[in-house]
């Protein structure tokens, strides 16, 4: 119970004084689950054969990766591809501008279309287009950002647009809460946190590999030959591994299984 006491950090000071921003890494993920639930969730990634949304997207990526060839549920997850680099506070209006929100993500055609508009709201200072004009997919499967990635609106169109465009993982210094949550709930993209500021270390077009091991998560930049630590996915992991909030709730017995 002493740990509860640790919470109390009452330090009154005026707003006009410089603020020390509290930084609590363990709060950076939106789910916290018992380890037994985690194991149960990880033990059997479900496959949902129907529907346009990729609730099992992450599981699919994991099994497609060479390092996940073993059948063990705890085997490493790997993402490999070109990276696209953005800065701080990339908000949902830049990820998917509001004029495209009439597209309904649960409709397969419109899902694809959302992908074609991913990151189209970036200012013209970004000279490389994320998705080429006329294309529906991006050539960059890994997105690297700075602080507070995905801030702004609660539109789920944001992680969906990235996922639909072919992004497997986002690596940012930190995330806005709802974007992180929506990424987890949908399983569209794997939201990872970097230990350093990778958006200053990597450049758009670099070839990178992300390895998510049980004890060690890292990003390797093959173009520069450097390696960086990533924070473990934390308590959101089981939900991601289950394939989203529905799959997780089914495993936990919250809602009946879909075949019922």
């Amino acid at each position: 119970m002493a740990a509860a006491a640790a919470f109390s950090t009452l330090s009154p000071f005026k707003l006009s004084s410089p603020i020390e921003t509290p930084n609590f890494p363990s709060l950076s993920s939106s789910f916290k689950l018992t380890s037994s639930a985690a194991a149960a969730a990880a033990a059997n990634s479900p496959t949902h054969p129907f529907g346009p949304l990729k609730f099992n997207r992450i599981a699919r990526f994991a099994t497609a990766a060479p390092s996940a060839a073993s059948s063990s549920a705890t085997s490493a997850t790997t993402f490999h591809g070109l990276c696209y680099v953005v800065g701080d506070n990339i908000d949902t209006d830049q990820i998917i501008p509001a004029e495209y929100l009439t597209l309904v993500p649960s409709n397969p055609d419109e899902y694809e279309k959302l992908g074609s508009y991913a990151l189209i709201g970036l200012p013209s200072s970004y000279t490389n287009r994320f998705v080429e004009s006329g294309a529906t997919k991006t050539k960059y499967s890994i997105l690297i950002g700075g602080d507070n990635f995905g801030c702004g609106s609660s539109r789920e169109h944001a992680p969906v647009a990235l996922g639909a465009a072919g992004v497997a993982a986002v690596v940012a210094e930190s995330y806005a809460r709802i974007f992180f949550r929506n990424s987890v709930a949908t399983g569209e993209v794997y939201p990872l946190e970097s230990e350093g500021r990778l958006c200053d270390e990597c450049s758009t077009g670099d070839v990178v590999t992300i390895e998510l091991g049980e004890s060690d998560c890292k990003l390797i930049n093959h173009t520069t030959g450097k390696e960086y630590g990533l924070k473990p996915i934390g308590d959101a992991g089981p939900v991601i591994e289950a394939g989203g909030i529905f799959a997780y709730a089914r495993k936990a017995g919250m809602i009946p299984s879909r075949d019922a």
């Binding site: 119970m1 740990a3 707003l15 609590f24 363990s26 939106s30 830049q94 609106s153």
Partner: protein
């Protein structure tokens, strides 16, 4: 697994103190002593054996928040069993001390913020700490035309074509984003909402069919967050989730309210529950008399500027103090509306007589306010002397890019926009009209007015502006040369389809009472948005530059 501990803990509800709150709900002075009293009721006497809190209050910082997050995930069950044991022992050993305050009994250990208490009640637990993940029972789920169709799609896909929603009376569907547009897909999305509401017999659907004249649609409201309040769906102590990040507006009513995505909303539609993490609370104590040239918008811009756009990520922001108590409900809504711009999970203002009075003719449902305990643990407490603040703006392209309005007096602007859930309420238009009237001048740049809801629109056309000789806002706006108030909706706050009224289709500079100024927010990627209060927006309209409203109000 979670189901089993939910069941096991459900017997440890707050039944005793809930009754007490209910009894006292209507009393004019509800303060935290009620909660202390309640804790006395449900805490075991044996907790006197626990150390007093003063010791851990003093040793901040040396023990990080993370240390408690590494606790077993569900410490509640351990606490419950401990209580049972200690109760037996102490009932023999220790006589009740009548003078004993909860602060010396160990009640401090269980002191909770109002956000934590709402989570505890909604998850049927007696005790919670920040960082825990709990399945929360949802009181109201709100969705609109942008995220509703996707949420419905997920609901159908996951629960089946013939599935029924968990409670037809707890779902509120408010088309408001893209209404007055020729965009076919936008119009189709409202049709999807209508079909779903008919099929599911949803009780609260604020439909619009005649897009040519919003007044021909008596059910149509407009901006969801303002409509939720006006229609009595915001109630103290409840949990309100909505598929819009500004759902946090409803925290003004002393409830937990936050924005969620389509998938989570689809889940709630079917189950009425959602897995949520209990947030720690940042407390903002605002005291001092509010100068008459400031509005709540200035207060929240001050706070966001101080803590940054990520300063409250995952956290609750609780607003208290004499200034907050003096604010009207609409001003409290402005305050809570923009907590998401600081990354906050929710904003919350304790319910008081102002709240109860507002709710009097709006809801007949019983509600139970909760209040933070005196010993509640706050991650941080900020104190603000409001009397010393000056009118503010947030410069492009971030809501935390704070500056004094007078520092930006050389910034030439092309247009002014007054509207949205943040700055399109009745009092926002009253404030703008008051300034226009006081100046006796005409605007120098196009000034667009978009009332949030049909009710606000009616008020703009019917309520006399105090001190303006009986003139209404609409008369004053017309005399000042503003555009005619438009049909109520989210309008150009978030750009929207190309034909949206007042959308920024060129790279212009706009002073706006809205909530976000990220690149492209109001339509054009290179457009520049200065966020400001209705006073500052009106003053800027009169000069064609960003202008401190004191130039006209004093």
């Amino acid at each position: 697994m979670p189901l089993s501990w939910l069941l096991c803990l459900s017997i440890w509800r707050f039944s005793a103190n809930q009754r007490s709150w209910r009894k006292k709900r209507r009393s004019s002075r509800l303060s935290f002593h009620i909660d202390l009293f309640c804790f006395g009721q449900h805490l075991p006497m044996g907790s006197s054996a626990l150390p007093p809190t003063s010791s851990f209050l003093s040793d901040k910082k040396d023990v990080g928040f993370s240390s408690f997050c590494t606790q077993p995930s569900f410490p509640c069950s351990a606490q419950v069993s401990k209580k049972m044991v200690s109760k037996k022992v102490v009932s023999v050993m220790t006589p009740q001390q009548s003078e004993r305050k909860p602060s010396t009994t160990g009640a401090v250990k269980t002191g909770m913020t109002m956000t934590e208490k709402i989570f505890a009640r909604a998850s049927e637990k007696s005790q919670l700490i920040p960082g825990e993940n709990v399945w929360v029972n949802v009181d109201i789920l709100m969705t609109h035309d942008v995220c509703g169709p996707g949420s419905i799609g997920i609901f159908k896909k996951e629960f089946g074509k013939n599935a029924k929603v968990w409670d037809r009376e707890k779902i509120v569907i408010i088309p408001d984003h893209y209404i007055f547009t020729a965009d076919e897909r936008a119009n189709r999305n409202v049709d999807i909402l209508r079909d779903f509401c008919n099929e599911q017999d949803i009780k609260y659907f604020y439909d619009i069919k005649d897009l040519g004249n919003f007044k021909a649609n008596p059910d149509y409201k407009g901006v969801c967050h303002v409509a939720l309040a006006q229609e009595g769906h915001c109630r103290p102590g409840e949990v309100l989730l909505g598929t819009d990040s500004h759902t946090c507006t409803a925290g003004a009513f002393g409830q937990f309210a936050t924005g969620i995505g389509n998938t989570d909303a689809g889940f709630v539609l079917g189950t009425g529950k959602l897995l949520l993490k209990v947030p720690p609370t940042l407390r903002f104590v605002m005291d001092g008399e509010m100068p008459d040239y400031l509005l709540a918008k200035d207060l929240i811009l001050q706070i966001i500027g101080e803590i940054s756009v990520a300063g409250a990520t995952y956290k609750a922001m609780e607003f208290v103090g004499s200034t907050v108590e003096s604010l009207t409900m609409e001003e409290r809504m402005t305050l809570c509306n923009m907590v998401v711009e600081a990354g906050g999970k929710n904003g919350i203002v304790p319910a008081d007589s102002t709240t109860f009075k507002y709710l009097e003719d709006k809801t007949s449902l019983p509600y139970e306010p909760v209040y933070s305990d005196g010993q509640a643990r706050f991650l941080q407490e900020y104190r603000i002397d409001v009397s010393k603040l000056e009118p503010l703006v947030a410069k492009p392209h971030s809501p935390d890019n704070r500056a004094l309005a007078r520092e930006c007096k050389d910034v030439k602007i092309d247009r002014v926009y007054i509207g949205s859930c943040t700055g399109g309420k009745t009092e926002d238009f009253m404030a703008a009209a008051k300034l226009f009237h006081a100046s006796g001048k005409r605007v120098k740049v196009p000034t667009f007015l978009v009332p949030a809801t049909q009710k606000v629109w009616m008020d703009v056309y019917s309520l006399p502006v105090p001190g303006a000789g009986g003139k209404t806002c609409s008369q004053i706006f017309e005399e000042a040369g503003c555009d005619t108030p438009a049909s109520p909706s989210c309008g150009a706050c978030l750009g929207g389809p190309r034909d949206t009224y007042a959308r920024m289709n060129e790279a212009q500079v706009c002073v706006s009472t809205t909530n976000r100024n990220f690149p492209g927010r109001m339509g054009h990627k290179e457009g520049q948005i200065y966020l400001a209060s209705p006073y500052t927006a009106a003053a800027s309209a009169l000069t064609g530059f960003v202008t401190d409203p004191r130039d006209f109000l004093q």
